[in-house]
Each structure stands twice: as C-alpha cells, then as structure tokens.
Amino acid sequence: MQNLIKNGALLTDDAWVLIEDDSTNIAENTAAILPLPRYLALNEANNLPTRVGVWLNDEQMADDVADLLDKVELVALHFPKFADGRSFSKARLLRDRLGYQGEIRAIGDFLPDQVDYMARCGIDAFACRNEQEARTALSMLDTFSIHYQGDVSQSALFQQR
C-alpha cells in the first residue's frame, strides 16, 4: 500500500496489497489483506496466501476475528468515513481485550488529524489518502504530550500525578 505510516515513519516499500472484494484476483506470493468472508472461505479451502491479513468493514466487530488473530499478521480497520468512530473502539478491543500483538492498520477515509487518537487506541499503521496527508499525519502523531486517560501504552494521568 502507498502513503503508509508505520512505526512513526513514512514507508515507501510496503508489501501488503489490499484485496477489496471477493472477485479481486490474488497474484501468487502476494501479502494479501483479505476481506473477512474471503479469508474464511480461503481458510476453509486450505488455500490461504502465505502472508495474510484481514480487514474489517464498519459492521464487522473485533469479536468476529477473535479466533483467527493468531493466524494473521495484520488486521486492517476500514473507515467508511472519517466521522465513523467505531474503529477506535475496535482497536482497543483487539489490543486490550483480545491481546492482539500484530499490526493494526487504518484504511479508508480518515484524516491526518485523527492519527494521534488512533495510535492511542492501538492502531500502529496508517494508510493515508495521499502523500501530503501522510506527511501531515506524521507531524500530528504526538500532538499532545499529556493524556488524561489511560490508553494502550500508558496509564491514566492520575496514576502519575
């Protein structure tokens, strides 16, 4: 994918390919991020690509992938529009509840201004809409040095006061 921010840097050589739907062809040796139903079908047929991730649409919940988290390198959360905040909670559930350690990637329609909150919820890779936004996003990753609430990597401020 293009315009990807990962580990606090802009990546130019990301190997992952987003498979949009069931009909998209998967070339051999592709690191493929599959829609959940496609993942389940290929898994059933014992035909998964060697490097595999799965993406959730807005209606699919963290629990829907609970059983396959130890088999996927990456879970992508799709933002249908930036105002749809469900994926913030899904990311937290993936990290805090289900203990997922792999990559959680934001895909779809989100704003650079949201990556700070996303990172605090456990999203650690961001497929931005274009290069300019990726650069802006990079600069906005640590907008706030103080956080009142606990998050996936820090305890609440009141525990430090």
Partner: protein, 553 residues
C-alpha cells in the same frame, strides 16, 4: 474551584497550537470544508447564519471573576462586546472571525479556560446544580466528580467520533434535581448505599430534541471509584452499536429504546466486567486531590441574620421580594446564595455585555469570594454571600440592573437564540419571550403565580428545553410561516416529565393571550399552595384546551 496544575495547562496550550495549525491548513485550502468541520466543532466553532459562533466551556457552570473579566475583554477585542450564557451553563460568542479563533482560544487558555468538546459528536461539558456545594440537602458535592469526568472526557481518544453528541449531568441534592439528570445521555445521581458509601445511581438514555425521553435507571448503585470505568463501558457500547445511518436516530436514547433497557444494561455490564478494577479505576488519592479544590471558602462563623433581615425587609419592600425569589438557603449559617437576573426586556435571555460581565465580576469579588456560577436558566449566581451583606448587594445589583426579583417565575424565561441568530431555527424565539415578559410585567401577580418555568425553543433541537418547561413553546414552520406549538406539564426535576402538546399551533401575536388563558385556568382552579405544574397534572389538559381554543363570541 479547580485550579490547573502544569499538566492541565499543557493540555489546553497544546490544544490551542493544534487548532492554530488546523485553521491555517483550512485557510490554505489543504482541508476541505467537511473535513475541517468536525475539527472545528470539537473546539466549539460553528458556522451560523451570520458568522461563526464560538462556544466556550464553563465547566459545570463555575467561573472566577478573573475568568469573567477575560471573557469581557475577549468579546470586546474579537466580537461585538457581548456574550451569551447558554442553557448548558456555557458561554457563546456570536460573531468572531474564523482567523481570530486561535487567538481567542489562546486568551482563554491564559485563564485556564477552553472550548474543547463544546460541540461535535463527542462528550460535552458536564453540567450540575448551580447551587452545588452550598446546598443543605446535599449528599455530597458533585463538582469534584464533574471535574473528574471533565478530565477523563477531555480529548478521550476512543470517544471523539461518536454517533452523536453526548451529555452527562450530575446531581447531588436529595430533594431537587436542578441538573435535570433524567434528561441527559447519562444522568448521575449521588447516593449512599446502606453501608454509607458514596456512589451513583445511573440513568441512561434521557434527552430532549425530536424524541424527548426520560432516562432509565441502569444501575442503582455504582461505587465512586468505578465511575470512569463504568462510563467507558456505556460509551463503548454506544460507540459500537449506536446508529450512524440517521442523525435523528443516533443519540443513545434511541439505542436504549431499541434494545430495551434490560438488554442495554446487560451489554454494559458485560463490557464493564472486563473494565472493572482495571486501569480506569479511580484511586482514593485522586478523588481526594480533586476534592481539595472544592473545599469550603474561608467562611466566617456567623449566625443566621434573621433579625437584621426582618428589619431590612420591613424597610425595603423591594428587598423583601428579592429575598423571596432570588435568594436561596445556604448550608452555612449566616450565608445565602443569590441569583442575579441578567435577563432584560428587549434582549435575548442569557445575553450579557462586557460591561455587565465586569459588573458581575466586581460583585463576585466584593460579596462572594471572587467566584460565580452560570445556571441553566441563564442567570448568574453568587453562591457565598453573607446574609448581613444582602441588602448592600441588592442595592449594588439594582444599580447595574441585575436585581429583577423574578427568579423561577413566569418571566424568568429560558429561551434559545432562535431565528434571530440560529441557522437551524424554524421560528424566532426571543421576540416571543419578550412579548410574554411584556404581558406579565406586574411583579405582584407573578409572585402570586409562584414557581413556573416557561421554556422556548426555535426548533425541534430543543436548545431552549421546551419539553421540560411547565409551559413549553416550540417554533414550527408551516409552509414557510412561523408558528408556535404550546405544551403544558413538563418537569425537569425529580418528577421528570415531558410536557403534553395542547393542540394546533398559534401565530406569534396570539402567544401572550394563550399563555394568559392558561394562567387563568390555573388561578381559577388551583388548590391552596398548589404549583402550576401540579394543577396541570391534577386537571389534565382538557380545561386548558377548552379555554384556549374556545370560539370567541
């Protein structure tokens, strides 16, 4: 009141820097209108009919005189020299220029204020009783809990893009509910359990707007230390399951109604089972740290000044009326809480000029430890006034025009900005308030009518809380013309009730006469000491309908 430490200050300072950068990017064309929208909204900035509108947070209605003076200065520098106190205890500037907003926010940060999350689909300013901390019948002071909620909800990373706005209110009084907790997304009522421990009764799913609903109890006792983890559980369930396909069905009340309160509660409890005792669990040390900021001011040891007041009342009949309507009992002997009426005929309820702000700030310094509160009735409160200084305060307040002795009466109208200012309005609301105030200008008659809330909203969004006015007036649009629907019997308090619509709507000119007829039915039928809302409850709507809609002969 709560005083920022270096952490709190840093949060608001960094927020100002962030918004300055966002505004620059927008003016530069790098951010589209619809993308800037949620970002500016989360900083309180709307684009209204005439200009942007900036809503500034007044956390749970508490202000220092220094902050009020700063508001006066900012509105003179960047606006038209007045502000507007809202029904949610906040303050609005109606005409700032977009380019100036970062500087306004920086000015606010200088006095420990901000506009964070005063609009947008996020957790809004938490509200409470304007007499919090000085009430005789209080279980505990709600303000430390409001501040804990303020800090927890400020820039919460998970809940900034909810399906819709989210409002929390806290009440600590046993006998009254001035915070209207049953009409909030979450209402918290301070209670003690049998073991004497402090906690909350939790209501969810109340609200006004298009679908007015009374909140339902989801928990009868939540220990204080679990407050934040429980709020997280509710918010998470809502964030994941609340409707996002239709903004009129997106509030949590619709989710609670659709699932039924039992199923909703089960989901919250299931989520909370994971969060309970987790990292969001408050410590006694943190509760104590915040509560420290709300300890009593340096009260003198006084006795109630009954004899002096009796004499002063005899000498000054106007003062007697003012004591009766505008002065409230205080927990500390020798003190009283005073409501300054800032509503004036010909001005929007809640409007306050920079000069008036400075006058109130001065009165607060002189009489009430330099602090004041904003009430949801859009008045200002001095909460800690010595009883033996009440006469002096009354005289001073009269000079600046804040001593109208009408608090809680029919002319102490709650009213939204309406069609004169608001882009969403169906009809004007301020002229309606004025016509009623002009019709009922006889104070003795008003006193005789007693407690009576009249609330006016210019559209279904119900910013004027018309559903819970004893008399509610709603602006409606009929084929491009402004009409008004009248409802009776709403109650925001412990007997939470949504008013019932009287019948077909009226022209603006007819409203004073309609209200007059409603009042006549009340005065003819009331029992001794019976308040208006109780008479409506006892009689039902029929006698009111008959009078109001009778054909004239």
């Amino acid at each position: 009141m709560y005083v920022y430490d270096s952490f709190d200050q840093k949060v608001v300072d960094e927020r100002v820097a962030q918004f300055r950068e966002q505004t620059e990017r927008y003016l530069d064309g790098q951010l589209a209108d619809d993308e800037f929208l949620p970002l500016r909204l989360q900083n309180g900035l709307y684009i209204q009919r005439h200009a942007p509108m900036l809503r500034i947070a007044v956390p749970y209605g508490l202000l220092s005189s220094k902050q009020l003076r700063k508001l006066a200065e900012l509105t003179e520098t960047y606006d038209k020299g007045y502000g507007h106190f809202t029904t949610r205890q906040n303050v609005q500037f109606n005409w700032p220029a977009l380019e100036d907003v970062p500087d306004i926010l920086a000015g606010l940060a200088d006095v420990q204020m901000h506009a964070i999350q005063t609009s947008g689909n996020c957790i809004r300013n938490t509200t409470t009783d304007q007499f919090a901390g000085v009430l005789r019948d209080e279980i505990a002071d709600p303000r430390p809990w409001c501040e804990l909620i303020r800090q927890w909800s400020t820039l919460h990373p998970e809940f900034a893009f909810l399906p819709r706005k989210f409002k929390i209110a806290v009440n600590g009084s046993t006998n009254s509910d001035r915070a209207a907790v049953r009409f909030h997304d979450i209402g918290l009522e301070l209670v003690r359990n049998d073991a004497g421990e402090l906690g909350f009764k939790v209501f969810v799913g109340g609200g006004l707007g298009r679908t007015p609903l009374v909140g339902q109890e989801v928990r009868d006792f939540l220990p204080g230390i679990h407050l934040l983890s429980y709020l997280e559980a509710i918010l998470r369930v809502y964030n994941l399951l609340g409707r996002r396909d239709n903004k009129y069905k997106a509030r949590i009340k619709i989710l609670v109604k659709a699932l039924g309160v039992e199923a909703f509660r089960d989901k919250v409890e299931a989520e909370w089972a994971h969060l309970k005792d987790g990292p969001a669990t408050l410590t006694e040390a943190e509760i104590a740290r915040v509560a420290e900021h709300f300890v009593d001011p340096a009260y003198e040891n006084l006795a109630d000044a009954d004899a002096i007041l009796a004499q002063q009342k005899a000498d000054h009949p106007g003062f007697a009326q003012w004591l009766d309507r505008n002065v409230y009992l205080h927990k500390k002997p020798g003190y009283a809480a005073v409501t300054l009426s800032i509503k004036k005929l010909g001005y929007a309820p809640g409007d306050c000029t920079a000069d008036q702000m400075r006058s109130v700030a001065h009165l607060a310094d002189q009489f009430s430890f330099g602090e004041l509160r904003v009430s949801h009735e859009q008045n200002l409160i001095l909460a800690d006034v010595r009883q033996d200084q009440l006469l002096e305060l009354w005289e001073a307040a009269k000079l600046v025009g804040f001593a109208t002795a009408n608090i809680g009466t029919l002319t102490d109208v709650i009213c939204c900005p309406g069609g004169d200012y608001c882009a969403l309005a169906n009809a004007k609301s301020i002229p309606i308030a004025e016509s009623i105030q002009a019709q009922f200008d006889d104070l003795d008659y008003l006193y005789d009518l007693g407690d009576l809330d009249l609330n006016i909203s210019g559209c279904m969004n119900a910013c004027g809380h018309h559903h819970i006015g004893n008399i509610g007036i709603l602006g409606v649009d009929k084929k491009g013309e402004e009409f008004y629907q009248v409802s009776l019997g709403g109650d925001s308090g412990q007997n939470a009730r949504v008013g019932k619509i009287l019948g077909p709507s009226f022209n603006a000119e007819d409203i004073p006469a309609v209200v007059d007829k409603v009042i006549q039915v009340y005065t003819e039928n009331r029992q001794p000491e019976e308040a208006f809302v109780d008479t409506v409850e006892r009689l039902g709507l029929d006698p009111f309908k008959e009078r109001v809609y009778a054909k004239s002969h």
